[in-house]
Symmetry: C2
Subunit: 344 residues, 2 copies
DNA sequence: GCAACTTGCTAATCCGATTTAACAACGGAG
DNA sequence: CTCCGTTGTTAAATCGGATTAGCAAGTTGC
């Protein structure tokens, strides 16, 4: 049976001082004068009794619970976004904070009620997270609170955002292709996701394409074509198959996700084309499959761990939060799917 | 700025009653006599003021925080185990509870300090979770507390466990093969994981193999061989390649994980063998790739969502927890990788 | 008509800390 | 020998609820 917890009163009694003195000694405040002797006695008593402060009781007075709430749509669900949680968890632990994780499944009402549940428990701050980068409107309960937006943007809402630097990732994809000598026969599979399954999901597509085209153009190259489609394996397979069937002979594919790349690999394989011998592939996201495909996929990694970590670091930083957009680099995972262009 | 929260005292004042009456009216207790008129006035006042009880303050008195802690080694990290979190989250939400998620990375000291951090915050109960099924020793801080073990077993520790029913899964794999007509040329790739990267990680392997062999034998079939190896893509690829090179001609592979299956697919493909025309494949886990491979992989799903949900349901159930092992079924995801045995 | 209940409500206390205000004891200045 | 400031300590209030004990007023019993 969990025996009664040791309270500060127990410590004070054992040390032969008042609870007030014990409190000051334990909190180590210097503005209240406690003799070294008393302080020592309290500390020893606390150690011997295995005293641990009751955070709940403390926070009733201080208002601070050393606790952060994280509200997401479905962030824990997506296969690799667990990294967001891990980054946030580690950063929180380094600072002796705990995280409430919640998931609203995209339901506004659930979102509100979860935020209430968090506020009822006196969380110090809230991280509002999205599964994919998009514009959002935070629930009204969050206005005026200490908030950081993770993987989403809310213009007009006074809070910092942490998002992947998709534009620079697009540029890096182009640079990797140019460096290997690619200047023509370059196709984008997935494009801007202009007709996406998710109407808000256009940030990643637009920004990746913008960076890609900018650097390609500056390097004297260009895109032969952009295939607009959804971003799943099936789409990649279908569209690349169609592309080849239409008589095109691409030298390099820029696939907008690793899942699209997998579909592209399958379609190329079925057509007897090899990667990267016949066709180079560069991708985005760095999901699990990327490193396991044959050949291993060169891709720009979504910095989930860093995003989670940054969100916590921002929220636990000193001073007021400023409505700044923090763009986190997407590192190039340089593997084996880019080669020199195949001969005519 | 977040204006001062509405307290029960505010509600009482507005309703013209004492805080005591307000408390009773709001908590809806029937053992204290409150007139319908007063109750109604309090409820209206609370609604108009948007009153929400301060859970922190309440729990100081009641000891219950409506909060559960989850301690895991690295559960948020593994690609698909986010489902565990989701299951737990949903079950908790249905019961108006919130979850503290923590991750100790396998470090005993970190584990202890996290459990302390949870207890300091007065969590009602703790779920101790493992990434893969294994035997564990819970940190001593958990003894005598309300605990459920998720995906792990601790003989002698007085708490229920929720684990996948690996034995039955092994049986189901065998049944699926038998049903398709396979009786010979059956190989296990991965085996018991008798020399595993993780010395504790033998439960899944042993139990899957046990169920598999039991039903195969009862069905008049048997295993031609068991290839003991680690359970990753690379291992599957290497071992199946070696198997074929040694002149064996398997009709069905039982791969111990989907990653092993992916490796097997690659090796079979390179050898010009087709799935399931030449070789059938049945697998375990049902990771993301399983449904996306070509042909889609028939596999026994690790019931992560159900495990998470069950753990919470157990912990929030009435009465004392009993040290029972709950085996959660692993449903067969019947896809396209099993066919009738190839001729001679 | 008075004791014994019932009904409806509230004052006071508690939970475990933090924090404010005040109070002894002592030393030095004048 | 006072007066004042310093030092070390503590009583009491506070945070926002839950709970216990008790108190008026109205009802019933005989």
């Amino acid at each position: 049976m969990p025996e009664r917890r040791v309270t500060m009163a127990d410590v004070a009694r054992k040390a032969g001082v008042s609870p007030t003195t014990a409190s000051f000694a334990l909190s180590g405040r210097t503005d209240m004068r406690i003799s070294d002797a008393s302080r020592e006695r309290v500390l020893v008593a606390a150690r011997e009794l295995g005293y641990r402060p009751n955070v709940t009781a403390r926070s009733l007075r201080t208002k601070s619970t050393q606790t952060i709430g994280l509200v997401s749509d479905r962030i824990t669900t997506t296969p690799f976004a667990g990294d967001v949680i891990r980054g946030a968890l580690e950063a929180a632990r380094e600072r002796d904070h705990l995280l409430f994780i919640t998931e609203a499944g995209g339901d506004r009402e659930a979102e509100s009620s979860l935020v209430h549940a968090l506020l009822d428990r006196q969380v110090d701050a809230v991280i509002y997270a999205s599964m994919f980068t998009r514009y959002i409107t935070p629930p009204k309960e969050l206005y005026g609170r200490r908030v950081v937006l993770l993987n989403c943007l809310a213009p007009g809402f006074d809070a910092p955002s942490a998002v992947p630097d998709e534009i620079e990732a697009g540029r890096d994809a182009a640079r990797a292709l140019l460096a290997a000598g690619h200047t023509e026969g370059i196709w984008s599979i997935g494009g801007h996701q202009a007709v996406p399954a998710t109407p808000e999901g256009i940030i990643a597509g637009n920004e990746r394409m913008r960076g890609l085209e900018e650097v390609l153009r500056a390097g004297g190259a260009r895109l032969d074509g952009v295939v607009e489609c959804d971003w799943d394996t099936r789409d990649g397979h279908r569209e690349v198959t169609a592309l080849l069937a239409a008589g095109h002979r691409p030298r390099a594919l820029v696939c907008m996700t690793d899942r699209v790349s997998l579909g592209a690999y399958q379609a190329l394989g079925e057509a007897g084309l090899s990667v990267p011998g016949d066709v180079s592939v560069v991708s985005f996201d760095d999901q699990d499959i990327a490193s396991v495909l044959r050949p291993a996929l060169t891709t720009l990694k979504l910095p989930h761990y860093q995003l989670g970590r940054l969100a916590v670091e921002l929220i636990l930083g000193e001073g007021p939060l400023e409505a700044v957009v923090h763009r986190v680099p997407m590192p190039l995972q340089d593997r084996a799917s880019i080669g020199t262009p195949a001969e005519g």
